[in-house]
């Protein structure tokens, strides 16, 4: 049990610092390590857990909680959670301190203006990449397109639109 917890901690702490480009980049590594190397779960279980973590609120990398839970119960889930999020959060904290300390510096003004179009592009790209990454059916495309227009050009609250999207997909037969 302790051995599995240590394996979980080591694996996810390492992946936490390697997860450039968001949590999804290391998904294949998580799959390989947990299914093929450590045999904590089957390939089918991994896919189901991926779907659960995508649908649940919060970041998709919460899948590590499910992997940890299957491997070593609640203790495993908590170890996986801390290992996945603490190291990268520490890096962000240090970066944010430097950023904050330079509030008046010319380089930050330049960097802020330079990063703005990058941030806009990445926001749009994250949406488009998700369309590719999930098995988008025709009704799902319609839901995404209509939601995009409604939320970009009206002041409607996102939540009722998401509920409507869910109802529509059930009626469309999934």
């Amino acid at each position: 049990m302790i051995a599995i917890l240590l394996q979980l901690a080591g694996l996810f702490a390492m992946l936490s610092l390697l997860a450039f480009g968001g949590g999804t980049g290391v998904l294949p590594d998580i799959q390989r390590a947990s299914v093929d190397v450590h045999h904590w779960l089957t390939a089918r279980e991994f896919l189901d857990m991926f779907a659960i973590s995508r649908a649940a609120p919060g970041p998709g990398s919460l899948i590590v909680v499910l992997v940890g839970q299957k491997a070593a119960g609640i203790a495993g889930a908590l170890v996986a959670f801390v290992a996945m999020f603490a190291p990268s959060s520490l890096v962000v904290y240090l970066a944010a301190r430097v950023w904050h300390g330079a509030a008046q510096a010319a380089w930050r003004q330049i960097a802020e203006r330079a990063l703005a179009p990058i941030g806009v592009g990445l926001t749009l790209a994250s949406g488009l990449a998700l369309v590719h990454g999930t098995e988008h059916s025709l009704p799902a495309y319609a839901v995404t397109a209509v939601t995009t227009l409604l939320l970009a050009f009206t002041d409607l609250h996102p939540l009722p639109i998401m509920v409507a999207g869910a109802v529509l997909m059930v009626l469309a037969g999934g």
Binding site: F20, M49, A96, A114, P158
Partner: protein, 196 residues
């Protein structure tokens, strides 16, 4: 509240300093709402639109920064915003707030899944989740459109935003390679504009 940064014309009213409790509750709401993804959209809605803790410029440059460092971008964004507003304790408040409910929900969902594998009724639950997810993707796209309309006024930044959108979102260029080219280019343009 006037900030010393207000010499910079692009940030008019941000920088009200929220309490730790307000940060925790704000991000608790974000975490609870973000079914099926769309976290970046929820964060901007709460932090910029509703509460004006940050302005758009600070939000998107922070978002870009959070893409560069390792880790889930939106978790990074919570830590970044907490640190900006209240230092280390602020980062803990935003992180705990955003992750608490999702963590509990995933744990319960995991228990249910492991206990009820292969039972009927999963089909339409899956469809409902897919529908909410499809709408959540729309929230991210709409956030990108809003940010672009409000913050990009010149041709060169517009081209950079478009290149990243198409390159990463459609052509699947690896993030690292795309940023390795686009960040220096954007810095150069920004630096040239700053000197004028």
């Amino acid at each position: 509240m006037a900030s010393p940064d207000s010499i910079e014309p692009v940030r008019p009213k941000a920088q009200t300093r929220p309490s730790l409790a307000a940060l925790f509750v704000g991000f608790l709401i974000i975490g609870a709402m973000s079914f099926g993804g769309g976290l970046a959209g929820w964060i901007r809605r709460e932090v910029v639109q509703k509460r004006a803790w940050l302005d758009d410029q600070q939000f998107i440059s922070g978002f870009a920064l959070c893409n560069i460092v390792p880790g889930a971008t939106n978790v990074n964004l919570a830590v970044f915003i907490g640190t900006q507003l209240r230092g280390g304790p602020g980062a803990l408040a935003t992180l705990a707030g955003m992750m608490l409910l999702p963590l509990l929900i995933v744990l319960v969902a995991g228990m249910l899944y492991l206990a009820t594998r292969g039972m009927p009724g999963g089909g339409w639950l899956g469809a409902a989740l897919a529908g909410a997810g499809a709408a959540a993707i729309g929230l991210n796209l709409a956030t990108g459109i809003r940010l672009a309309r409000r913050n990009i006024r010149r041709v060169a930044p517009a081209l950079i935003a478009a290149a990243i959108t198409v390159g990463i979102g459609i052509l699947r260029v690896p993030l690292f390679a795309a940023l390795l080219v686009m960040i220096p280019l954007s810095l150069l343009i920004s630096w040239a504009g700053y000197r004028r």
